[in-house]
């Protein structure tokens, strides 16, 4: 299987934003955009739905807090009761700082690992070659030529309005 891609590059982030918006309005399928730095508003221009990662963070945080709270009660009140200054064994205020830290640890580390896994960015992964300037001074938009009505010249004339710098076709083997 292979698919035909159209790689277009721009010199300014505002051109990329406008071109992305226009491409979506014309019904082209956007594979991805590549920029040297984070361009605010690009996610909206690309029509991406907002991430579900926040929900994962919430669940990770709650499970970290619950697990740690249970662990502390189990270790210092159930399995081996420890009397600290005559306070009740299940003294929740004493458990709060550690519970809080473990909640942050679970949510923070878990979110990063989950993000890397979702984007398939594990160690040893080869970087995908997109375009020379994508890490320097070029803003790249990649479209998928996914139907017969896709005419490269039409895209070129559309993108030239946004000061298109370069346009090239690629065949990607999937």
């Amino acid at each position: 299987m292979s698919r035909r891609l159209l790689v277009s590059s721009f010199a300014h982030e505002n051109d990329l934003l406008a071109a992305t918006q226009a491409a979506r309005e014309h019904g082209y399928t956007i594979l991805d955009a590549y920029t040297p730095f984070a361009v605010h508003g690009l996610d909206k221009a690309m029509g991406m739905r907002s991430t579900r990662l926040a929900w994962a963070t919430l669940i990770l945080g709650i499970s970290g807090a619950v697990a740690k709270l249970w662990f502390q009660i189990w270790t210092s009140a159930t399995s081996w009761p420890v009397n600290v200054g005559g306070k009740p064994l299940k003294s929740v205020p004493a458990f709060v700082p550690v519970t809080f830290e473990v909640m942050v640890l679970f949510a923070g580390v878990g979110t990063v690992l989950l993000f890397l896994a979702m984007r398939k960015l594990w160690p040893g992964k080869k970087p995908a070659f997109i375009y020379d300037g994508a890490t320097n001074d070029r803003f790249i938009l990649v479209l998928i030529q996914d139907n017969a009505s896709f005419v490269v010249e039409e895209v070129r004339s559309l993108f030239e309005r946004f000061h298109l710098v370069d346009l090239e076709e690629r065949i990607e083997r999937v």
């Binding site: 605010h40 926040a54 205020p93």
Partner: protein
């Protein structure tokens, strides 16, 4: 540029009736406070103190916010900098209130009675710091220093409107850095003097930062409230976008959690050590109605804002943010009530005429002063080099 010039011409014009209604509220509240001082001094004086402290907090929070933006060279907040600047205008009025408060010093502060101090070894050993002349001198000193430094910043910011001189930004950055240091030291002492010494046997070294957390949280909430009101009234319609609201929402969310963090830090150390001279403070606040108020305080200042502002969309949503701000403004009043009142209300918190009058006057005076101040000059700092960045904020 068209946005800038169009927006600056829109001055805020609070309608005549609006200003008159606020003035009437100020007068009613002040009258209630005045009658209370004679009819029920034990209840009225602490509330006058609370309201004065609330107003000082708002004015200081405005100055603090402006100084923080200068020090961090922040561009995003420039377009609404006139709001925190206007908030600082309440400080001169609080000077007047402070003078009034000195008349109630014997009702408020146990350590001001020489007979009590003579028979109390702890208070006697603290009398080098806690005595009337030094207390008054310190109070005046704090407010004077804050006003001088904040006025220096605000005046330069206003002068830049005409000249656009970059040197004013640079000077303001230096003054702001100095102000942050001075503020940290003086506000810590001020909160200990005015609030902590109401229970002079008790002490907490984290008290200053706890008060700072409340001050800045309420300052951010009130500032956001005014910004949203101005957005609804018109002048800020094209100035404030949802990215600004998002950033303000994030700050409120962060400082609400910071407040909780510090609240718990103070509580857990005292709970853990369990030393009689420290735990009396919380023992008093865990019984009966005060225990309920402790929970309500946490609900208003942290639980509700935290849950409400957790998703992205609520931070960008004008209506949700506005409601959270109102909750936090009430929450700050509850927080101060919880700190100030227990020595004066032995059993349960009571909220009646003497409690509501002074705070009504303070809030009405605040909005009156802020909107009058905003109507005077440019609503946008048109000479600031970073105004364009702020107007085009996109996150």
């Amino acid at each position: 540029m068209s946005t800038i010039s169009a927006a600056t011409r829109l001055a805020v014009r609070p309608s005549e009736g609006w200003a008159r209604n606020l003035s009437i509220l100020v007068l009613i509240g002040a009258a209630v406070a005045l009658i209370g001082i004679f009819a029920a001094p034990d209840r009225a004086w602490p509330n006058v103190l609370l309201s004065t402290y609330y107003l000082i907090s708002l004015g200081l929070a405005g100055g603090l916010f402006v100084a923080l933006q200068y020090v961090s060279n922040a561009g995003w907040s420039v377009s609404f900098r006139r709001i925190p600047e206007a908030m600082t205008e309440v400080l001169p009025v609080t000077g007047l209130l402070l003078v009034v408060l000195f008349l109630g010093i014997h009702t408020l502060y146990e350590w001001s009675h020489e007979a009590v101090v003579a028979n109390d070894p702890i208070l006697h050993s603290k009398s080098g710091w806690l005595n009337e002349p030094f207390f008054i001198a310190r109070s005046v000193f704090y407010l004077a220093v804050w006003m001088v430094m904040i006025t220096a910043i605000v005046k330069r910011s206003q002068r830049q409107d005409a000249s656009g001189d970059l040197e004013l930004t640079r000077t303001n950055r230096k003054i702001s850095a100095g102000f942050l240091v001075v503020f940290a030291l003086t506000f810590t002492l001020a909160s200990m003097d005015w609030i902590m010494s109401l229970e002079p046997h008790w002490f907490s070294t984290i008290f200053g930062i706890y008060n700072f957390a409340g001050l800045f949280l309420n300052g951010l909430a009130t500032m956001t409230l005014v910004i949203i009101l101005l957005k609804r009234m018109g002048p800020f319609r094209n100035v404030i976008n949802d990215s600004h609201l998002h950033d303000l929402g994030k700050l409120i969310f962060a400082f609400s959690t910071f407040w909780m963090y510090i609240w718990f830090s103070q509580y857990v150390l005292i709970w853990y050590a369990n030393i009689p001279e420290e735990v009396t403070y919380y023992a008093r606040r865990e019984e009966g109605g005060w225990g309920v108020l402790t929970i309500v305080n946490i609900l208003f200042n942290w639980v509700i804002p935290f849950i409400a502002l957790l998703p992205i969309w609520t931070k960008r949503h004008e209506g949700v943010l506005l409601r959270v701000c109102i909750f936090l403004m009430i929450g700050h009043w509850i927080d101060l009530f919880w700190m100030i009142m227990p020595p004066f209300m032995a059993k349960d918190p009571i909220v009646g005429l003497w409690e509501l009058g002074p705070i009504l006057a303070a809030l009405a005076a605040f909005f009156l002063i802020v909107f009058k101040s905003l109507a005077k000059g440019n609503l946008l700092p048109v000479g600031d080099p970073m105004l364009g960045e702020s107007l085009n904020l996109h996150t």
